[in-house]
């Protein structure tokens, strides 16, 4: 199994941050349908700081790096997203421990830990119509592909594409769900008929990672 380098981890985090900043309005509009329209704004303000502070982050280990990112997000981002995304990055960091040479399995472990962290912080689970409904199916698909072995499992670009496709399908599928957590849940059945903003954001970020993987530095 080919190893991903820390460079790849940095690339993924940088892409997530850039995507959040670039899609501020789209993510706000998604949140405006049955939420309060600030999701894109909150994410963008946080990941803006991540990008601004990028060069200053501790890079002793991948985990140390992720922890710094997590701290910026969880302490400096408002709304529900700050604590949730901050926790996600923090748990991903913890899942790595001291390891430096990261593999596809590490990616799965990080995503799994992130999802578990969000579940705990948000008192939420799969099926509540949140970003978990994109994050968990995406992680499942990635894990399957990694476990399957074979040439595709060894190609990070192919793995990224697999993850992105799964995330998109799952995010689209949130449209027919009723929100049981977060602000949209206050509208009851009216939350059915539009996708969850957080889930779509996960899909857009995963797609961006897959799209730009071949051209990464």
């Amino acid at each position: 199994m080919q190893k991903t380098t820390d460079q790849d981890l940095e690339f993924v985090v940088h892409t997530i941050a850039g995507t959040a900043v670039a899609n501020e309005r789209e993510f706000c509009d998604l949140d405006a349908v049955v939420g309060d329209g600030d999701f894109g704004y909150s994410l963008a303000r946080g990941f803006e700081i991540v990008l601004a502070d990028w060069e200053t982050f501790d890079r002793a280990t991948p985990a140390a790096f992720l922890k710094k990112v997590a701290l910026v997000i969880s302490l400096r981002v408002g709304g529900t997203s700050g604590p949730l995304w901050g926790t996600a990055f923090l748990r991903a960091a913890a899942a790595l421990g001291g390891r430096t040479d990261l593999t596809g399995r590490d990616a799965v472990a990080m995503l799994r830990a992130a999802a578990e962290g969000i579940k705990t912080r948000g008192r939420s689970d799969l099926g509540d119509k949140t970003l978990l409904d994109a994050l968990i199916p995406m992680t499942d698909a990635l894990e399957q592909a990694v476990d399957a072995g074979g040439p595709r499992s060894a190609d990070p670009a192919a793995l990224a594409r697999t993850a992105a496709s799964a995330a998109r399908t799952a995010a689209d599928a949130t449209t027919s769900m009723q929100a049981l957590r977060g602000r949209p849940s206050y509208t009851g059945e009216r939350s059915i008929g539009s996708p969850d903003a957080g889930a779509v954001a996960v899909a857009v970020m995963a797609e961006r990672v897959a799209d730009t993987w071949p051209a990464r530095p």
């Binding site: 405006a32 600030d38 981002v77 408002g78 709304g79 949209p184 206050y186 009216r190």
Partner: protein, 331 residues
């Protein structure tokens, strides 16, 4: 977007700066963490009371800082819970030896930020307790949500808790009073129009000229259901019934009645609504001891109103009657 705004990202800091400049003797603005503090806070002889939440609800909560009310408010951006860091810094700044009470409207984002801040502050040996306000009756089924939302009823919690702290009550006592007031307070709101967050620049939803949103919170989201616009009498009856039936409030109860404007509804209409609500409640045998009419907790420029009832006992009524001085209430 028809608003007084420069760069939307500076909307909240520019508002806070204007607030502090208008109240140089009583308020301090701490730009680094976006917080408004009462001049002279913390007082060693007094529990400090703090409320945080997203912005866009003004006068809640930054304009409720002052004698007999809050010692500090830490607002987030418009409709966004403050970052945990800001809450933590606020708590440190007003840490009194008698303790700090955190008032939080019950939303996921706010809960999480305040929980994180509480943990951080306790690690610094600051005595902190947290109280969640959840007076909104429009959120019916709490098993499917994080529970009821805190809306305009938070004014009464702030007022009673602020008065108790000002009188010198200890942290447990102040907390007990807050819990009690919250437990007898219920609110129901409705929107005539959507609101426009400065950063979004357009209304959060489209509402035809003959429709309203019934059962809205204070974040500009759609409500529980969309209905046809009706006469003031009929709309007030729907709000009053939802509130009264919930606790329920019974004939013979003495109450405080609040008619709260959501931001775009003029006070003339709020007093008209008050008159109708007063009559409908009186017909039910409910005795209105105190009336509050105006803007207490808004959703930016949303037109609409909410009705809040508080069931009074001697203790609560006496605390509500205590004087208070805040930016919005001083000549």
């Amino acid at each position: 977007m028809k608003k007084f705004v420069n760069d939307p990202k500076n909307f909240v800091p520019e508002m806070l700066r204007g607030l502090a400049l208008a109240n140089p003797d009583t308020l301090t603005y701490e730009p680094r963490h976006n917080l408004i503090m009462r001049a002279g806070a913390p007082r060693p002889d007094k529990v400090s009371v703090v409320q945080g939440s997203g912005s866009g609800h003004e006068p809640a909560h930054v304009m409720c800082v002052g004698k007999g009310m809050l010692d500090a408010a830490c607002p987030g951006d418009v409709f966004s819970a403050p970052p945990a860091d800001y809450v933590y810094e606020t708590v440190k700044l007003v840490a009194s030896p008698r303790g700090v009470l955190l008032l939080v409207n019950n939303y996921t984002g706010d809960r999480m930020a305040f929980e994180m801040a509480e943990e951080l502050a306790q690690a610094d040996d600051v005595e902190v307790r947290t109280l969640y306000v959840d007076d909104d009756v429009s959120v019916q089924d709490s098993t499917y949500t994080v529970g009821r939302r805190g809306v305009a009823g938070n004014f009464f919690v702030m007022k009673a808790v602020g008065a108790a702290a000002e009188r010198g009550a200890g942290l447990d006592e102040v907390h007990r009073i807050g819990e009690k007031v919250n437990s007898v307070t219920r609110t129901m709101g409705m929107a005539l129009t959507a609101c426009t967050p400065p950063a979004k620049g357009s209304p959060l939803f489209e509402l035809p000229d003959d429709e309203i949103e019934m059962g809205v919170g204070i974040h500009g989201e759609p409500g529980r259901k969309r209905e046809k616009l009706q006469s003031a009498d009929e709309m007030v009856a729907e709000l009053v019934t939802a509130v009264v039936d919930d606790l329920p409030y019974a004939s013979g109860d003495g109450v405080a009645l609040m008619v709260n404007g959501l931001g775009g509804t003029p006070i003339s209409e709020l007093y008209l609504v008050h008159g109708l609500a007063h009559q409908q409640l009186t017909e039910r045998g409910i005795d209105i001891h105190r009336s509050y009419v105006g803007e207490y907790c808004t959703s930016l420029d949303m037109a609409g109103a909410s009705i809040t009832l508080v069931r009074l006992d001697d203790e609560i009524e006496s605390l509500l009657t205590d004087p208070a001085e805040t930016p919005i209430r001083v000549f």
